[in-house]
């Protein structure tokens, strides 16, 4: 890749978490019976008219503010005309040049530093429905539940230079959406979708090469692999003296290839024009300023603060701030027990493992941050061992309540009474005379064997430091 520079721009579609659809009062609930959440507006009945959902406007504007965009005080909706059964009006209501947010940027982490990626615009638009094809019946069905669900399309400048940068941009975008609590971010269910425009140009050349639009990459991993495949494909073409054709290609995750979907000549002429059924979205300076003041601390800012205020390593700060709920949980815990690094270790370890294993979110955790802090504190204070701390965490996360009361009730409190432990240590040495002999003969590695035996006898409750101390004394 020494001779070519990769140029990538991304178009991200994010479903907004509003209660109702963009232009009607139907529910946006996922998982309803087909065509349950449908009315005359979102099913394109004759005479139906759209009315704009104010909440969606607020969400779109907030995303723009979080991405340093100009929020237009008079943006307009345009009709994007095309025929498809899941688009009941025969057009999508979208925005174009005069979109709600324009000319922004975000900083994305790239290696040790950050990189600025320009945002061309954020446009508000409605989603299409879903076609369901039945091979057996030789029929197609259409479900309009998703039709009219509000989307924002975030169009980046062609500023990314590698698949890694594209994924870093996507992850940053994803976490901003979650921080703002305006999108659930689910890539598999399609509430966060990404198309990539990929082209190559000889290094040093100003002019862009022919770009290919990549679709159908429904995970961060697939975005990475899809773009990588496409870069390699285009490079091969150029090196072979062939031309890259402007087209739309679909990524096939199973085969890890991209395949042509439609060429330039089959591209739609969408015949955009201002939607006469809708008036411009009028916003005031005060409204926009109000939304700006409501913005939460964003991931990158939070990450920097976690490093400076809590003294956390970059790795920890990064991991803990990717999900706003986790970050907030962590901060609340720090408020109860001021030992950020110990809390971070537990959080990044057993806590997140448990979230992943059970596929749950922080919101589903019954354990309050103060009780999580309590657990880490009693480990630090030696009341229980780190191992027991890790062992009891899953149950505590499920049931909640005081960690101290829990370990006491279960009789898990560490044995730190030396007279009590002494007898156990004596017993272990007596039961293993040959190992004791070997140890005395210089095989000090056997220390851990004796610790293990003591732990077994005390069902893990022995204070390890004390056990070591006693063993050294007795052996």
């Amino acid at each position: 890749m020494a001779d070519f520079e990769v140029v990538i721009g991304l178009e991200v579609h994010a479903q907004l978490k509003t209660e109702s659809k963009l232009f009607c009062s139907c529910s946006t609930r996922f998982g309803s019976e087909p065509n349950e959440n449908v009315c005359e507006v979102c099913s394109g009945m004759p005479g139906a008219l759209p009315t704009l959902n104010a909440k969606a406007v607020e969400f779109a504007a907030k995303m723009g503010l979080a991405m340093n965009c100009n929020v237009s005080l008079g943006s307009i909706f345009e009709r994007k005309n095309y025929f498809y059964p899941d688009s009941p009006n025969g057009y999508q209501i979208s925005q174009l040049d005069n979109a709600i947010c324009q000319n922004g940027y975000i900083e994305i982490p790239v290696g040790e530093s950050t990189k600025r990626v320009g945002i061309t615009r954020i446009q508000l638009e409605n989603d299409a429905g879903k076609s369901i094809h039945s091979q057996a019946e030789n029929l197609s069905y259409v479900d309009f539940n998703r039709t009219g669900v509000p989307l924002i399309e975030i169009v980046s400048d062609p500023d990314m230079r590698s698949a890694e940068q594209a994924v870093s941009y996507l992850k940053t975008l994803h976490s901003i959406l979650l921080y703002l609590d305006i999108c659930d971010g689910n890539m598999e269910e399609g509430s966060f979708r990404c198309d990539a425009n990929v082209s190559l140009r000889p290094r040093g050349q100003e002019e862009f090469g022919t770009r290919v639009e990549l679709k159908n990459m429904n995970s961060f991993r697939n975005v990475q692999r899809g773009i990588e495949y496409e870069i390699a494909r285009q490079e091969d073409l150029i090196l072979d003296g062939e031309e890259v054709v402007q087209e739309t290609r679909l990524y096939n995750a199973e085969k890890n290839i991209t395949a042509s979907m439609r060429g330039k000549e089959e591209a739609h002429d969408y015949r955009y024009f201002p939607d006469p059924d809708l008036i411009p979205i009028k916003l005031t300076e005060e409204q926009v300023a109000g939304w700006k003041s409501e913005l939460p601390e964003l991931p990158l800012e939070k990450r920097a603060r976690f490093e400076s205020e809590f003294g956390l390593p970059e790795y920890d700060a990064n991991l803990l701030t990717q999900d706003r709920a986790i970050a907030e949980y962590f901060e609340a815990a720090v408020g109860c027990f001021n030992n950020p690094k110990k809390l971070s270790n537990f959080m990044m370890g057993q806590f997140m493992r448990e979230l992943n294993e059970r596929s749950i979110a922080v919101a589903d955790v019954a354990l309050a941050p103060e009780h999580f802090a309590e657990l880490v504190r009693i480990v630090e204070e030696g009341m229980i061992s780190t191992k027991i701390g890790n062992d009891v965490l899953p149950e505590l996360m499920e049931k909640g309540g005081s960690a101290e009361a829990f370990v006491k009730e279960k009789g898990m409190v560490q044995i730190s009474d030396s007279s009590e432990l002494e007898s156990v240590v004596d017993e272990v040495i007596a039961e293993n005379p040959s190992e004791a002999e070997a140890y005395r003969g210089g095989k000090h590695k056997l220390q851990s064997f004796f610790v293990g035996q003591v732990m077994r006898k005390t069902r893990g409750k022995a204070n390890p430091a004390l056990v070591n101390e006693l063993l050294q004394k007795k052996l």
Binding site: E40, M45, P46, G47, T51, N89, G90, D269, R271, I279
Partner: protein
């Protein structure tokens, strides 16, 4: 001799409230009149006789309700206004069996006010036409001469009202579709200011131009209907939240002293038929007698109105009509073998020629590479046309001119010449581009043709009240045409 069906809406209302007539008697009279006249006039696509009689009996049982301004009054509505559970065809084969599951806002308002909807009026398919010959179901005839057209596209409403089949009808006006047929049939038709009446439930033709308005036999009847259907609808973003006006109170004016009436010179120029001009000039003279001051004004961009209108209306129509795709409702070709077939065959067979012509032209003017030259330019000219009007209305309270350059022409005369047909809207079209209100009032019969002539009164934004004041006084001074003889 005056028959029950010939009475005005206001007279019928008094008789109903005084229990001198029952709703059933009034509805039956209209249904009988429809039965007698419909074979020749063909104004209605469907008649809801049973439902209307059932509703009438229930109303009679409950007794008169004075708080409902249209209690027991039989009306019809143009067949592109959605009526819940009643077929709404838009004059098109593609919606032959379409039954909406909701009422248009204006229809719901009529029902709330106690009106009885007895029929759905014929129209040019999707409101595209000026003669009501472009209907997939029937060609409506002019009640004054069955060999002539009633105008269009609300020709069914105009003919139905003129033939006394009902006491009023709602039409729609995108480029003159209320005012021009009102003029050709000799009834009163008002196109309100854009945004005064909600468009919700009106099947769209040119969304930025469309307005629903009343068509009646008298100015007072017209004001009564507008009073009911006007008002803010939060579910139509283009509906304006303006303070309610009292249109009936506007009818109490006794003279026109202090009123400036503008005569746009472009409306009184070449192309205007002699008999229409003399009937309209005579009416203008009466306005002067009533105390009005006449002023000559200019609308310099008028000559661009037809081109501008057709670009904008067709562009919007090409997109508005995309939903009729044979997928969810309406006609679907049974020869379709795949998705593209469903679209192409259903739309080619479901839509008539004029509709297909306009969809193609509209698609063309929005196409990549042509947008700037056509649609964008038209939108700019549209602003200039509106500014012309606003400037003229700074000096005047109303403007007057003919509603149509000619009286009703013969059936079939212009069907093969769409361009000439488009020119019939020359005096009505620019008002839709400007978004202002206009009213057509019958001012007599043409000296040569013996067919009705309508004078058009154009007003300021949301100043329908002044139009009614002027029209009402002029109506008093004008010999009434009465019911066409021989029907």
């Amino acid at each position: 001799m005056s028959f029950l069906y010939d009475k005005s809406l206001s007279e019928i209302r008094s008789l109903l409230l005084a229990k001198e007539l029952t709703v059933t008697e009034v509805v039956e009279a209209c249904l009988k009149r429809i039965e007698e006249t419909e074979p020749s006039v063909q104004a209605l696509i469907s008649v809801q006789a049973e439902e209307a009689l059932e509703q009438a009996r229930a109303m009679d049982e409950a007794g008169p309700n004075e708080s409902k301004p249209l209690w027991g009054i039989p009306l019809t509505v143009k067949d592109l206004l959605c009526t819940k559970g009643t077929k709404t065809t838009c004059g098109s084969k593609i919606l032959e069996n379409f039954e909406p599951f909701y009422d248009a806002f204006a229809v719901a308002k009529l029902k709330e006010a106690g009106a009885v909807i007895i029929g759905k009026a014929n129209m040019d398919e999707f409101a595209m036409g000026s003669s009501t010959e472009n209907s997939a179901y029937k060609a409506t005839k002019n009640p004054w001469d069955l060999n002539k057209v009633p105008g269009g596209s609300s020709g069914g409403s105009a003919a139905c009202v003129t033939a006394s089949q009902a006491f009023g009808s709602l039409g729609t006006d995108t480029g003159g579709s209320i005012r021009q047929p009102a003029s050709l049939c000799g009834c009163v038709g008002l196109k309100p200011t854009y945004g005064l009446v909600s468009r919700r439930g009106m099947v769209a033709y040119g969304s930025s131009l469309d307005q629903i308005g009343p068509m009646t036999r008298s100015v007072e009847d017209n004001a009564r209907l507008l009073q009911v259907i006007a008002g803010h609808d939060e579910k139509d973003s283009t509906s304006v939240d303006a303070p309610a006006a009292d249109y009936l109170a506007a009818l109490n004016r006794t003279d026109l002293k202090g009123l400036n009436v503008g005569l746009p010179k472009e409306f009184w120029a070449e192309g205007l038929d002699g008999e229409v001009e003399s009937a309209c000039r005579a009416a203008v003279a009466k306005l002067e007698e009533l105390g009005a001051e006449l002023v000559e004004v200019e609308l310099p961009h008028s000559s661009y109105a037809i081109a501008t209108y057709y670009i904008i209306a067709m562009a919007e129509a090409s997109s508005n009509l995309a939903r009729f795709d044979g997928v969810r409702y309406g006609y679907r070709s049974d020869e379709a073998e795949n998705l593209l077939d469903i679209y192409v065959k259903s739309r080619s067979k479901g839509f008539g020629d004029e509709v297909q012509r306009r969809i193609m032209l509209g698609t063309y003017v929005l196409s990549s590479g042509y947008y700037d030259a056509y649609y964008k330019k038209a939108a700019q000219v549209r602003r200039l046309i509106r500014e012309d009007y606003l400037k003229a209305l700074e000096q005047c309270d109303v403007l007057v001119g003919p509603a149509s350059p000619v009286t009703a022409w013969n059936v079939g005369e212009l069907t093969s010449d769409p361009l000439k047909m488009y020119l019939m809207d020359i005096y009505t079209i620019s008002l839709n581009l400007a978004g202002l209100p206009g009213l057509s009032l019958p001012v007599g019969l043409g000296a040569d043709s013996n067919m009705p002539v309508g004078l058009q009164l154009l007003g300021k934004e949301f100043d329908e009240a002044t139009l009614y004041s002027v029209a009402s006084l002029l109506e008093e001074k004008t010999e009434q045409l009465g019911t066409p003889a021989g029907l």
